[in-house]
């Protein structure tokens, strides 16, 4: 089988949300000597892009996005041991968290998975994360983007506290801040000084890619 056929099989397995097929395709690709980075970047990532397109067209829903990301994770697990050295260069670093008092993580996890697929290094702090912990993580990891999620209107104010904390620590102008979650409106995001309110996971990830691309062009 040619390398292109191996890559096509990997892509198809993601689009078809097929756990068994991705493992089989990844094993066969590695046995055939396909470059593991190519297996990820030219096989599985294009598959995720098709899933993303289907999501945007309304053919796929959140459930398919979640499952596709999980299928890809299985494929990546198979090829990772074959990667030599550092692997591909990261696009940028994102610190992401569900704010204090909120235990909802579905949207945040999707965003984390999709950001990783895009090549970001993601520091996922989890759910119910205290404001101080987010600020400290930004100090420690120096990300270019901070993502915050909330599903409860009661916990939304925590997002504003984090932004204020970033200002106090003189780090606000060093990071872009993106918010997600059902109750978050553009008006609210603007009122607390966030840079963007994601319409959904895909749109939010696109915005992050756009930000780092602009940054790269500037550099």
């Amino acid at each position: 089988m040619s390398e292109n056929k191996h890559l096509a099989a990997l892509k198809e397995s993601i689009v078809n949300l097929d756990f068994a097929a991705v493992v089989k395709a990844a094993k066969e690709a590695m046995e055939a000597g396909v470059d593991p980075n190519a297996a990820i970047n030219d096989g599985m990532v294009p598959g995720m892009a098709i899933v993303g397109d289907k999501f945007e067209k309304g053919e796929y829903f959140l459930s398919e996005l979640v499952v596709a990301a999980e299928v890809m994770k299985e494929g990546v697990n198979v090829v990772t041991p074959y990667i030599k050295g550092e692997g591909s260069q990261k696009l940028g670093k994102v610190v992401i968290a569900t704010v204090e008092g909120d235990h909802h993580d579905l949207g945040k996890n999707i965003v984390s998975s999709l950001l990783r697929v895009q090549g970001f290094e993601v520091i996922d702090l989890g759910v119910d994360v205290a404001t101080d912990k987010i600020i400290n993580a930004v100090k420690e990891h120096q990300p270019s983007i901070v993502g915050m999620s909330a599903l409860l209107t009661l916990t939304m104010p925590r997002m504003g506290e984090v932004i204020e904390g970033l200002k106090t620590a003189s780090m606000r102008d060093k990071v872009k801040v993106i918010l997600g979650g059902t109750p978050i409106t553009e008006e609210f995001a603007a009122s607390i000084g966030a840079d963007h309110k994601a319409v959904n996971a895909l749109e939010g990830v696109k915005k992050c890619v756009e930000w780092v691309s602009v940054q790269e062009r500037r550099n």
Binding site: S63, V67, H103, D105, P183
Partner: protein
């Protein structure tokens, strides 16, 4: 003609008949106690009160409870030991839980599960055993008591659990990390088998609810189209609603479902359900379906409108604008009730503002009447 009581208004609208005024009500679970709610109720606000019609008895399952420390935090664990295996779930509780109402903490937050009943595929047969050994027994005392206390102040609803598949999605398997979707993709037979077992076991519960003294049968479904996509809704929810509605309607009970998420993507499917009341429908900015559009799409349904918490967070002026816009979007105001909150406790200021707009909303609404209401607020 004598002015209608709050209860008459809500029930008239809920049966697609015309009330004298647009009914508005507070949900007992989110209700503050004090001068403002008393004043608002004196000015026409009703109450909806949801209570169960049954108790459950689980046979041949040893249930134990314990408090334990996990990652430095206190966790409440419930363990179910059956002849086919053992499962457990952990939950954390906010301060005030058990000292307030509806298992809510002082900030109106319900307990949240930190470990779900179903974690691995091996847990499905255990939970199925529990489901198949659960007996539902009629107990109408809570409903009778609430009706006796409320009388004409509002309506009493029989509270039914989430639909079977929703029970799995948001209660037993959970959506953290997309777990439910991953299980559904990896182990479809286990998920379907358990869903069917839940549906079958609840037939007795539906009958008990339909025969109860409740005014309305209410499913706390928490539908959001982002999680419950159209494929899932059509396959697993529609048939269950049909089963429930058949029993409820035989006993003259309207059937309601709590849908406070983004349901635009489900609009056409919801139209096909036999549901009578779409409860807690949130218009933008929290939902994605305007009430006017929903009324048009669902000509045989009544909408109980949920008030977006994000509007309340902007204060009374934003509340005034949103409520007036809502009236203008829904002229002539038929097939509608307005809920002060289905989500969180409302501040006194916001509750008074909602009341100020709605207390004189005589039906049928007209643009002139709404203009007069707006002027009266200045």
């Amino acid at each position: 003609m004598a002015e209608m009581t709050r209860r008459e208004r809500i029930m008239k609208a809920s049966r697609r008949e015309r009330a004298d005024k647009l009914p508005f009500l507070h949900n007992w679970r989110h209700m503050q106690i004090g001068w403002a709610e008393r004043e608002c109720r004196n000015r026409g606000m009703g109450i909806s009160w949801a209570r169960p019609s049954y108790v459950t008895r689980i046979h041949d399952v040893d249930i134990s409870e314990q408090w334990l420390k996990k990652d430095g935090q206190t966790v409440y664990r419930r363990i179910f030991a059956t002849p086919v295996g053992t499962v457990y779930q952990d939950e954390m509780r906010a301060p005030g839980t058990g000292q307030w109402h509806g298992m809510r903490g002082w900030n109106d937050i319900t307990p949240w599960q930190t470990a779900r009943l179903i974690k691995e595929p091996e847990d499905y047969p255990v939970v199925k055993y529990i489901v198949e050994h659960t007996e539902y027994i009629a107990d109408y005392y809570p409903l009778e008591q609430a009706k006796n206390w409320l009388e004409d102040e509002g309506v009493v609803m029989d509270i039914q659990p989430h639909q079977p598949m929703q029970t799995l999605m948001i209660d037993w398997v959970g959506s953290e990390g997309g777990r439910f979707f991953i299980h559904h993709a990896r182990y479809p037979d286990l998920v379907e088998d358990l869903c069917q077992a839940i549906s079958k076991s609840r037939e007795a519960m539906y009958e008990i609810g339909a025969r109860s003294p409740a005014d309305i049968i209410w499913c706390g479904d928490n539908i959001d189209g982002v999680l419950v996509n159209p494929k899932l809704y059509e396959k697993y929810f529609l048939p269950e609603y049909e089963k429930m509605a058949k029993i409820c309607h035989e006993h003259g009970k309207p059937l309601a479902s709590h849908m406070d998420g983004r349901v635009g993507v489900l609009k056409d499917l919801i139209a096909r359900t036999p549901l009578d009341i779409i409860e807690a429908l949130h218009p933008p900015p929290m939902g994605d379906l305007a009430i006017g559009e929903a009324l048009e799409a669902w000509p045989d349904k009544v909408i109980w409108v949920g008030f977006p918490g994000s509007v309340y967070s902007m204060g009374p002026e934003a509340t005034r604008k949103h409520t007036l816009a809502l009236l203008r979007d829904t002229v002539p105001g038929e097939r509608l009730c307005i809920e002060a909150s289905t989500e969180n406790i409302v501040s006194n200021e916001n509750l008074l503002m909602v009341t100020a707009v709605l207390e004189n909303a005589e039906l049928p609404l007209t643009p002139d009447k709404i203009d007069r209401i707006e002027k009266s607020l200045k």
